[in-house]
């Protein structure tokens, strides 16, 4: 009986020491795992929502600019300017307009995806071989059919590459979303930023999330572009 108590005390002492020394403590991580569930879920939403919105906006802009090339320069300038705003500043600057919370983070993060996706869709559409377009029109495809059946499928590798970069970038930027009161893994990260166990878990989850999204998009890319692997 005494032995058992002694062991328990030793365990508590070493655990407590590790935590007190801000060390890497597996047992603490095991005990505190559920503290990270909500921030993680928020982080996933903080990544997916802006990427989805950003994709919808920039894809539409790129398709519009595709037949109106004069649009490319202004759109690139504006999205480029948005991209250069420091993220922390952006999150504070928006608050008078959008208040504290998800919306602010959503707007800011969405803005950061625009340039990347717009540029990749534009480049992808521009890289479609001229002779394929000529043949398509010559065979009687309408402009719309040309876009959906020939140009966009052929631009798909570039488009998905843009989506990959945008997603990975957003996972990283979403770690600042707590500054706007939108939660995410940045929240625990910031609360105990000298506690190694916390840093490893919160930071590690960020990295894992980015890697997971990367693999998902990459797999999608391989599935939708089987012709890319075809060689004589």
């Amino acid at each position: 009986m005494l032995l058992v108590i002694a062991q328990l005390q030793t365990h508590q002492r070493t655990g407590a020491t590790c935590v007190a020394e801000n060390g890497f403590c597996p047992s603490w991580i095991e005990d505190n795992w559920d503290r990270y569930v909500d921030p993680f879920t928020q982080h996933v939403v903080l990544t997916l929502a802006p990427v989805a919105a950003g994709f919808a906006i920039s894809f539409t802009l790129a398709v519009l600019a595709h037949r109106r090339s004069w649009l490319i320069t202004p759109v690139t300038s504006i999205t480029g300017a948005l991209y250069t705003i420091p993220s922390i500043a952006f999150l504070f600057l928006l608050q008078p307009l959008t208040g504290r919370g998800f919306l602010t983070a959503f707007v800011a993060l969405t803005c950061y995806t625009l340039l990347i996706i717009f540029r990749n869709v534009t480049t992808g559409l521009a890289s479609v071989p001229a002779e394929a377009k000529d043949a398509a029109l010559g065979m009687g495809l309408t402009e719309r059919q040309l876009l959906w059946r020939v140009e966009l499928p052929l631009a798909m590798p570039e488009i998905l590459a843009g989506l990959r970069i945008a997603t990975t970038t957003t996972v990283g930027l979403a770690a600042f979303a707590f500054l706007a009161g939108a939660g995410g893994l940045g929240e625990p990260l910031n609360e105990q930023r000298f506690f190694k166990s916390n840093i490893v878990v919160a930071g590690g989850l960020c990295v894992l999330l980015a890697a997971a999204f990367d693999v998902i998009v990459l797999t999608a890319q391989r599935i939708v572009t089987p012709w890319k692997r075809a060689t004589a």
Binding site: P129, A132, M139, T231, A232
Partner: protein, 410 residues
Amino acid sequence: MPALFGDPPVVTSVDSPTELGQSPHSRAATLEFREATKIYPGTAGVAVDGLSLEVPAGEICVLVGPSGCGKTTAMRMVNRMIDITRGDILLDGDSVKERQPAELRREIGYAIQQIGLFPHMTVADNIGTVPRLLGWDKARIRSRVHELLELVSLDPDETLDRYPAELSGGQRQRVGVARALAVDPPLMLMDEPFGAIDPINRERLQNEFLRLQREMRKTIVFVTHDIDEAIKMGDHIAVLQEGGRLAQYASPAELLMEPASPYVERFVGSDRALKRLALQRVRDIDLWKAATVRVGEPVAAVRAKLADSDLTIPLLVDDDGRPLGWLSESALTGDTVEEKLRSPADPVIDLDDVLRDALADLLTRETRFAPVLDEDGRMAGILSLDVISNFLLVAPNESRSGADLVNQES
């Protein structure tokens, strides 16, 4: 070695007899350029200047000329890939300007030099593009694709699911032609379709295509910068010159024999006399009369035949009249002909041989003359170097009748 383009297609399993099968003489349109003119806005020059010509149904019309002569522009005005500035183009008598461009283009086969296969689509999907636009059902598209691949001598089972990147240049070209033929269009536009192919394969594709065309009898507008290709492929040739003006529109033989201007003369080349050899067949020219003799024939009769012949050497033939060889002088020393040959009858020329090939045969065997046989293997006469040079030396102006003859022939 794959079978040739134009071999009769072996259609093994076609679910339903397709309405648009490879039926010969299926549909061919007439095409007429009527003062068709193209001026690009903002440029001083005229790209195509009042082009007027008629292409009868089922013929290949070649537009030929140096780069910048407007030949591609002229072709692209037909399916409204380029809009006509002035004048008109009539397809089966109806102005193309009245038509919805996309709808018009689906009725016109379109093949370009870079082929323009869609890299992200399989061969089957590439060929099925226009049928899908026209709303054919899947089964019909499948069987048509099958049929077309066999028509252009590609193995359907092996090529159907491949991507263009997995094909050789020649195979891609064939798929391009199959795709242009997909809905059996009454008119085909072909812009240097064999331009990007090496010379050996180009010649093969040209021959295969001509064989295919003999079955299909489509109306074809064929653009090239190569006068030799024009002469080979064209039923009629339109020679264009800088500024998009028509210099001459004529049959290949006419073009070679009676160039309408110094420009055309220069363009067809100083070897146009030799090119004529490629256009004419042995049966088109007057051959020498031969003295044919059989073993055992009286020598006196042979002497009489020789006097009547263009050649002083008798040709020994067998009982069926097939040549055995040239008789030696010593065979005629007795009362009757003996079987003594000075040389075998080699080469033997076919009445249907092209003159150029016949000449090449003579030169290769280092002989000045050779017997010519008709399709039944009987003597038709003797072709000699003198016969050929006489044919070539006839001045263009004096060869009117010759030209007319050729036109009737073609």
